[in-house]
Subunit: 312 residues, 2 copies
């Protein structure tokens, strides 16, 4: 049991980056598309556009993570009930009362685990918004590249073709469209990535702080259990702590009810140019989901300079 509480020899240096080396040297937005070899994508039988494939898989993994925490919460609640019922069956008044009340604490810890799973699910929705934008940007890139290719080939084959000026106009339009798409992509990606993990870290802290409170009160309950050994034939001192045990549960309840998230202002000073979280509008997720990525970025695009003007 001592290993549990001793600080483990810890070295995060092994993981200053967790990127596997195989992908080194192939950075850049188009790197994925140039990957040689056949990639078999068996996830749900859908073949995702290359651009959104990695995030598609990550979102699937998030699903597994969420399920695991849901299962943990459910099992914890089940164990809590079983502990209480086992304690009653022992016919030992101390064990009966304390196992029941420790069970209440464990059960609430399970509820916190479940709430954490739900918060992860909200965070996952933000990643989906990035993936959807990636998905919609891919055709725009391909269209632009295809027209440029066509122009290149035509220039070699029929330099005087009347289709050339038409294609060149098409290319300008495709480039303009792609410019908008890429701006939407960078805006959505940065904003949603940040929101997703700010929310996930906040949920981690909430679960942790609440479970610490619960565990501390749980330890107080265990202190009420006299575990000094008796000799055969001796009777135990009668249990006298039921009102104190009850009070401990009340304290736990008060602590949980009094829990507030820390202010989002961070204590650590950050260099200039880093954005702050204050004043960022947070629309409800549901309504954002109904907007296509293009729609949700429309305001940004419209308020800015027209892409065509910039190119002129």
């Amino acid at each position: 049991m001592d290993e549990v509480i001793l600080p483990q020899a810890f070295n995060m240096n092994r993981a200053l980056s967790i990127r596997s080396n195989k992908s080194k040297g192939s950075s850049g937005a188009g790197a994925g598309a140039k990957r040689p070899g056949f990639s078999f994508n068996s996830l749900r039988g859908q073949v995702q556009p290359e651009l959104s494939r990695k995030l598609f898989r990550l979102i699937k993994s998030e699903n597994n993570l969420i399920s695991a925490h849901e299962t943990a919460g459910r099992e914890r609640v089940s164990i809590a009930t079983q502990l209480s019922e086992w304690g009653e069956q022992t016919g030992d008044e101390s064990i009966s009362d304390i196992s029941d009340k420790v069970g209440v604490i464990l059960s609430e810890m399970g509820e916190q685990e479940d709430a954490y799973a739900h918060a992860l699910d909200d965070s996952r929705a933000e990643l989906k918004a990035i993936r959807n934008t990636e998905k919609s940007v891919q055709p725009s890139r391909e269209k632009k590249d295809k027209i440029a290719d066509e122009i290149q080939k035509l220039k070699l084959k029929e330099p005087g073709s009347t289709r050339l000026p038409v294609l060149e106009q098409e290319l300008v339009r495709a480039e303009a469209e792609n410019l908008v798409a890429e701006a939407q992509l960078t805006n959505t990606t940065r904003q949603k990535l940040k929101e997703a993990y700010v929310a996930e870290f906040a949920a981690t802290i909430e679960r942790a702080q609440k479970q610490i409170m619960l565990a501390q009160h749980g330890r107080r309950l265990l202190e009420l259990l006299d575990d000094s050994p008796v000799v055969p034939g001796d009777t135990r001192v009668p249990y006298q702590h039921s009102s104190l045990a009850r009070q401990i549960l009340n304290d736990a309840e008060d602590d949980l009810r009094g829990w507030r998230p820390e202010a989002e202002g961070f204590s650590t000073p950050v260099q200039s140019q880093s954005p702050t979280l204050e004043g960022k509008g947070k629309e409800p997720l549901a309504s954002e989901d109904n907007l296509s990525p293009v729609q949700s970025e429309a305001a940004t695009v419209e308020s800015g300079t027209s892409p065509l003007e910039q190119r002129g």
Copy 2:
């Protein structure tokens, strides 16, 4: 996203006891054995003695709980790598660096989840010690009851039987043996129950405190990501935070390395008669496992008054 950080309407009153009502009115050590009806126990095909059946199931549920936390840890580490590799593929230097470093934080959170699962496994071993003792006490109770029954029947059928004095001597021996067994049971049960959940709560606090540290540094990393929207054609300000991001990981590493468990002295005053945790001998689990419950209680029994003397 606002729901995540707002305190939930919380009422632990629904759970001042988590005992289901069906078992009310049937308390006492023998209650389980008197349960009417057929109980089909399909767990691993083993039929457990009635006394240890509830704990046997609880220990199975603990297994599911441990697996769930292991899965959560594994998925978390996998997501961390995927996030980093996705970030690299975006070709955006800010996202690439921050996703990689947030990935390192997430990966370490996953390791903490896995360490928690292992700590739960240690705690589960303590519950097994109780279950094993329960299992070994059951035959002793049954033997005593069987002899008493036999005497009762014989007294009605053949009051002058010469087997009666023999059976009565056997009963005294069986009662003495059972007295020892019951003392072993109460000693093991209280001690191991307390150890199991003290360890479990300590592990909960350790995971929580470490994950809070990690999440806080994770939020600092996210602050370095400029998510102000750009208009199409604009270029982002070049990423300038790589050394600060590196420093944040160093800080996280230092915090984790500096983590120490709280002292086990509890701050809350507890009424007299409650046992303290100081000075309790903690043998390594492995060697305890090799001792049968009877052996491990031998010292207690031998140092006490002989059960036979007490009955005389």
